[in-house]
Symmetry: D2
Subunit: 350 residues, 4 copies
């Protein structure tokens, strides 16, 4: 395959680390720039000893410089916080590069919704119509043609893939949906902070930001498109004492009587040509470890006739499928590569 | 205080181990018998090295023998599986002892409901009306007077305490309630089995028995009594990679507009004289570690105006509050002791 | 029992948190002051929600003020970093208070050794002769009479108790000792830092500071006193993905042939009247969970005839026995209370 | 590359699971048989849901049958317990197949040593001279030419690679070596047993089999060959609450004064053309997570001038490098493939 030079802005967080991990063994995307103001001057291998011995480990960390990135790369991953990403994107797009933005800056089509949930105005609203939501199962063809991909949030990936077949088929009510989601601690980021110290997370469990997490409008936007109707979701995240993984338990009410066999067949048909979405056999429920380190989204289906509910359980790896792996899949599509180049990974078990 | 000789039938599971831990430092209840067919002949300290040096560690494990228990004890804890407990209870009650049954055998007032969910007929239905559901906050006065306490299930304890004030006040709809509960692995028992091996549970998360866990009818029975109406609940358990702790996220719909401040005040009033139930300050949510090893039930309250929901988060220690500690509290009441004798424990942090 | 007002300087670290946990249920020591510059103005319960409902939770956190401490307290625990503790100690001692210093500032009798290993001069060397090393099994009588206790380090506690009988009996060579110690993450402190984030510690294991940890001279000082000879130890710490616990595997060479039964008897005699040191039955080895949350030091003994070695395995809880619990034991002795007041705790299992 | 049909006898343990994981994405070795008496009739994907969607997931589990294996496969991995493996090996070799035995049955050259440590006589001593110890860095050329590879034990892999350069150079004394090794729980196997339940391992740490683990003679055999002298090692294993990973801290005494820089250079030269052994930069120490899921063996070097010791810290993944990955490397060599075919994996971080 052709070799395509790519850059990574923001290498010190877990999404940056995961991009480095994936690019270390990618057959075509070659990491040529990795930036961090704080760590500039080191090599990637000195920053991340697990990369010693990989060519990517020899890449020097540099301070971010759009001109340098534009000269050296064809595509750039932005793994910096929301608010910071949008300016990089604008500058790199102007220089003709392709951009995969892992932040939230281009996920919401409506700049006012962005401002309301993220607490700052959008400085490049004109770019919003050009951004494609980077969920390959939903927007694969559009991703191939865009220069700007808004990589989905981790929680939204798990919820949207879990509900898409049911909503598209009108099988569940569009109101009253509850998503009870649980995420591993890598989702909380790599910033030094007491609440994410080992002894604060280990052997414990807690909820946070109930009903007001910023991934809510993103979930509602995409579910609304699938259902063809406005949707208000009760989205509620929790923190798991694991490194990687999101499991969402999604509660819906059926619009009509339906057997779980019928719904299972519907899901299988819906994802027939999407090998990363694995509809589990009836009676099986997902486990986060079964998707660890991969692009899989495992779905388990339960119909509870006592309450008239379809319960969908969805498991992904928040760092790979929910962030950096999905970003690589988008970069693959934007670069004319097979969507799964470098991503045919077996789950790490145990 | 007076010393009361007690027995423990079934010492090899985690509830038996936890009873031994609590009785090791109890000021009045003195463990004089501990039974296990498999481990008979050992001392408790040789079975459980953490008890070396405590008087309770010198207790010899014996095969269960009702006559011997009746002769030696005034009260007996049954920490054996459902189905096995009811016969012990009948025999010991007939001998004049008090019984705290940690199994499900006497929790459900209706023997047919028991048969339907537990898959076996009840052999002592005549005892059911004598059994008191051992939740001190709800039935403290009745527990003082009974000879047979049905110790509540771990999940039901967390859900019932979480919903009691709202249901009693008519604040939430009685239909459509969803309890998404997450439990530590000690809740799965101490039987040798591949699915609960360290490498099968650690660094992973999964749902199980969605909509069909056996604690469902127990939850519905007690919530129905609180609400004065039949209640069907969607109860859905999950397995956490932690030793101890249950966190239940309970989704309800408000019957009327209500502020979270108003609801918080209602909960504080409801539990004003129940020091083990801690209604957290507004803005705080429970964490399982904050109740580790104790009788506390921590409650966090969220009103989501977007969806008209009251979300209650409830955290307990499944082994202490959800099983053996609650059993000790019941034994205290049945023995004329203060409910918190031996149970004034500070949470283990971290 | 009498009530003794005590203060705690430095409440935000794990040793401060553990002191608060222990004092919450102590029958005689009543916490009346808790200081932290950063958290002044909060109550202890708002800082540590697990304390809600305990009287100690109502204590207000204040900025440290020696005059106020002196007026309110009879004894003060110093849970601040080395270097900072010595000035507090001097000031409080001058005001007539008793001081238990959890830092390293008064552990080393030789101010030059302190300066060499801690990288700063000792500002109060005149106090060093007054300080008693706070290991109750070794110095219980002297602790009762001092106003200044130097609370031992966590690693030294595990190593010294593990070797004391063998060294005192001349059973093992004084050179060539290796202590391979493994500590839970609470030993690394509660400072916000990337290397102790959950995702950096969980599911991993590493060594650090091999041969140059600051607890080395403290171990050598005490072992030397026991052996009556200078001792150089190879002390090597590791970081475990657990909250609490230290397990030290200590490698010695026997000075003569000896059976493990003989050595076991020697250890049992040595610790016959020290109930916190539990010499395990032959064939048993310690586990950190068996001492979790307590003052126990569990010792396992192995003789390897192939290599002529006595291997001692020693397990303690680094926060309780290795820091705050030991500090409470010292405070008990200094206050005329039984050494185990408030410390008759059963291990948290599982 | 050519496709080579291979079989796997014993698929239900963690080494069998890991072989399935690695073969799922191997470019040349195609798994065509997987055997288990207990699970016969299932597909691999139904046994191991993480394999759903991989061709290897469709392989049917069958009862072991040497004739069938011989007809279908060119090479067979034996992932059954010691004692059981040797007969399979003899039968398959007689049928002309190549065999990689993951058990201990062919690791020890001396059948009497085997009998002494494993407690049973060797039934095929005539095969012992044909077996090659499957450590590619030491015996790569011989592995290419053999039909029978004795795959090294996990602990020996970590200790031998850690000491080889120092022993070969005569840099360290051959007596008095201590290896303090710590292993993740997958090393304890996948058998249902109480001591490896989650709640028995999690948040705890313990030593076991000090001085008498069965990997001892294997370590001594290989170190002896490297040193050209008999070596007696004090080898002491511990159980870590992690899934994967071994970290060995190896204590030696230098035969002469040597700087750590000099020793570092020696190690780098020794492993210059062995990319899986990563000699870390001075000042760095290995962490098990940095090798997770891979063939890397990370080595850290410390010279302690106070005690005259060279301390080597060695980290591997016990399942991949310490078992199944090493088996695949051997199979690659035995099949004429590059040693790293299918094994160019990036560590799973975090």
């Amino acid at each position: 395959m052709e070799t395509i030079p790519v850059g990574l802005v923001g290498v010190t967080g877990y999404t940056g680390m995961e991009l480095a991990r994936l690019l270390a063994v990618h057959p075509s995307l070659r990491l040529v720039r990795a930036t961090s103001r704080a760590e500039a001057g080191k090599t990637l291998a000195s920053l991340y000893p697990f990369l010693q011995g990989f060519p990517v480990g020899d890449v020097a960390v540099t301070a971010p410089d759009a001109a340098d990135l534009a000269a050296a790369c064809r595509l750039v991953f932005l793994a910096v916080p929301h608010g910071a990403a949008m300016d990089y994107a604008a500058e790199l797009l102007a220089a003709g590069l392709s951009v995969v933005d892992l932040s939230a800056d281009f996920r919401l089509a409506d700049a006012e919704v962005y401002a309301a949930w993220y607490g700052l105005p959008h400085r490049h609203p004109a770019l919003l119509p050009e951004a494609v939501y980077g969920l390959p199962e939903l927007y694969g063809e559009r991703i191939k043609k865009t220069k700007l991909t808004a990589n989905p949030g981790c929680y939204p990936t798990s919820v949207i893939l879990g509900l898409a077949p049911a909503l598209a088929a009108g099988l569940v009510e569009t109101d009253g949906i509850v998503a009870d989601s649980k995420s591993g601690a890598s989702g909380a980021g790599r910033k030094a902070a007491v609440p994410t110290l080992f002894c604060e997370v280990h052997d414990s469990f807690r909820a946070y930001n109930l009903g007001r997490h910023r991934h809510t409008p993103e979930i509602e936007q995409e579910l609304g498109k699938l259902a063809g109707a406005d949707i208000t979701v009760s989205f509620n995240p929790h923190l798991l004492p694991i490194d990687r993984g999101i499991l969402s338990t999604i509660y819906t009410r059926l619009t009509r009587e339906a057997t779980v066999e019928e719904i299972h067949a519907l899901y299988e048909r819906h994802y027939a040509d999407k090998p990363w979405v694995r509809v589990l056999p009836l009676g099986r429920l997902p486990e986060t470890r079964h998707v660890r380190g991969t692009m899989f989204c495992d779905l388990g289906l339960v119909v509870d006739p006592r309450t008239g509910r379809l319960i969908v359980v969805s498991a992904i790896d928040n760092l790979c499928r929910g962030a950096s792996g999905q970003a690589v899949a988008c970069a693959n599509l934007m670069s004319g590569l097979p969507v799964d180049a470098g991503l045919t990974l077996a789950p790490m078990m145990p």
